[in-house]
């Protein structure tokens, strides 16, 4: 059975988030020291976490979801609860520190973007075609040549001689304009094979790509949730069955 990763672990954001928490921990520790132990530590931590609570808007920058905090709701809640008493003064810095952590997290997500692009470039086929051991060719259209199998030796060549091409949608589809449905369905298919079982690079956080192989075996159409990439190779990855 071909197993499909619908979402694998995204290692870069995990690392930056961990770093962000380390920074937060350090800032808290410094602030707590400054207060000289006047407050119990669990109370300070509680105030900190309430302070984190904020009204935020969701932004989407370079396919990354970001939460931009605007209103410090947690700080206000704490203020209303604690304002009558002396304690507010001593807790205030922890509440605001909690709120400021939101921005540290945003920075962490922003820092993750270039690293993600550097280590797992989303325009490079190698990101999507990392694990080819379990690759399986499936013929999906009857216009495909019979008795064709995957040439594993060529496939192992890591797709080095690939050139990105325009997606010739006009050739593949738009030229079918004006045809009746029956005429369209009688046309031979450019991509009569699907390559199943290929996994993206570990830690990329990308789902298993949908890969279509062109009828001559020299073209590959990589379909991901965000985009579609079309590459041509010098040699066919298919061969006649012996």
């Amino acid at each position: 059975m071909v197993t499909i990763d619908y979402s694998s672990i995204a290692i870069i954001p995990v690392i930056t988030l961990l770093l962000a928490w380390c920074i937060c921990g350090y800032l808290f520790y410094r602030n707590y020291k400054k207060h000289g132990g006047g407050i119990k530590i669990w109370k300070a931590v509680l105030v900190l976490f309430v302070g984190l609570f904020s009204f935020s808007i969701n932004l989407n920058i370079w396919n990354t979801a970001l939460k931009l905090s605007i209103l410090p709701l947690g700080v206000w809640i704490l203020y209303f609860i604690l304002k009558g008493r002396n304690r507010w003064k001593s807790y205030r810095s922890f509440a605001w520190l909690g709120f400021s952590f939101n921005f540290i997290f945003i920075v962490a997500s922003l820092v993750a973007i270039p690293f993600q692009q550097w280590i797992f470039p989303d325009k490079k086929p190698a990101t999507y075609l990392a694990n080819l051991e379990n690759a399986k060719l499936i013929t999906i259209h009857p216009s495909a040549k019979k008795k064709i199998v995957l040439d594993r030796k060529k496939l192992a060549g890591k797709f080095t001689h690939m050139k990105q091409r325009e997606i010739y949608s006009d050739k593949w589809f738009s030229s079918l304009y004006g045809m009746s449905p029956s005429e369209i369905n009688k046309k031979d298919e450019h991509f009569p094979y699907q390559l199943a079982g290929v996994k993206p690079k570990w830690g990329s956080g990308l789902p298993s790509p949908v890969l279509y192989i062109e009828k001559d075996g020299k073209g590959i159409l990589i379909t991901t949730p965000q985009q579609q990439l079309y590459y041509r190779l010098n040699n066919s990855v298919l061969k006649e069955e012996q």
Binding site: M1, V2, I4, Y6, K136, I138, T139, I140, H141, P142, S143, I167, S169, W172, F173, S174, L176, S180, P181, S182, I184, N185, K186, K187, E189, H190, F191, P192, Q194, A196, G197, P207, S208, P209, V210, Y212, L221, T223, T224, P225, Q226, Q227, Q228
Partner: protein, 244 residues
């Protein structure tokens, strides 16, 4: 102390319920009932079925079986059996003429099984089953997406039997799996499974049979609602929706 005892009792009850749940969902199914018992069970659950003869017991998987039968009115019918809550239960009885698809929900991935019991066996030689998807082209947010068509076929011989089952091949299931959540960002889905795939079927006449074979599909069905059955699309030779 009283409080502790109460807590302990509660814990025992909770563990017991969880244990029972696991026992009932992972326990091995009991041996399948005999034909006599099956007949009695169907006629009790769905008296309208009026089963006369059990034709066969077909194993689909450990927890699902199909039992074709002939009724008192000489209708060819199917009963669908599911091992559920520690009992073999009949989920549906029908006497449709056309093949149906039984969608069996599973933990990992759903199973799709063609099932049929037709009285045309002296006219029909075999079925051709299809997994189909239309070719499509979408422009979206200044990007374009080309979706190749899918047409996968399997020919299944009837071997002079009126009934049979056919689980979709592994390759079909894989192709269908790939379409599941990956492309939801792009596609306006129209299929029942949230993808663009359709199942189809075509009867192939025996040599010498000239007249068209008519499947009326005006049979009856009785269901306890605990089963998903679908109509695959019927195709003819030379259909405009097929590449041939």
């Amino acid at each position: 102390m009283k409080k502790r005892k109460g807590m302990f009792a509660l814990l025992v009850v909770v563990i017991g319920i969880i244990g029972l749940f696991f026992y009932s969902s992972f326990s091995k199914p009991a041996p399948f009932p005999t034909e006599e018992a099956l007949k009695k069970d169907i006629n009790q659950t769905f008296p309208e079925a009026s089963v006369k003869t059990i034709q066969d017991i077909i194993h689909v998987d450990e927890r699902h079986k199909v039992v074709p039968f002939i009724s008192l009115n000489k209708d060819y019918g199917l009963s669908y059996w599911i091992w559920k809550k520690n009992k073999w239960r009949v989920a549906e009885v029908d006497n449709r003429e056309e093949p149906m698809i039984w969608k069996i929900e599973d933990r990992k991935r759903p199973k799709y099984v063609y099932v049929w019991n037709i009285f045309h066996k002296n006219k029909v030689d075999s079925f051709t089953f299809y997994l189909l998807r239309q070719r499509d082209y979408i422009t979206y947010d200044r990007q374009s997406l080309y979706i190749p068509p899918v047409q996968m076929t399997e020919k299944v011989l009837l071997h002079n039997k009126t009934y049979g089952v056919f689980s979709i091949p592994e390759d079909w299931a894989t192709i269908k799996d790939y379409a599941r959540p990956v492309q939801t960002d792009w596609l306006f889905v129209n299929g029942e499974d949230g993808d663009a795939f359709n199942f189809g079927w075509r009867p192939n006449a025996k040599p010498g049979v000239k007249e068209p074979i008519i499947f009326t599909n005006n049979g009856e069905s009785f269901s306890n609602g605990d089963i998903i059955l679908r109509f695959p699309e019927r195709f003819e030779k030379g259909s405009r929706d097929l590449y041939e």
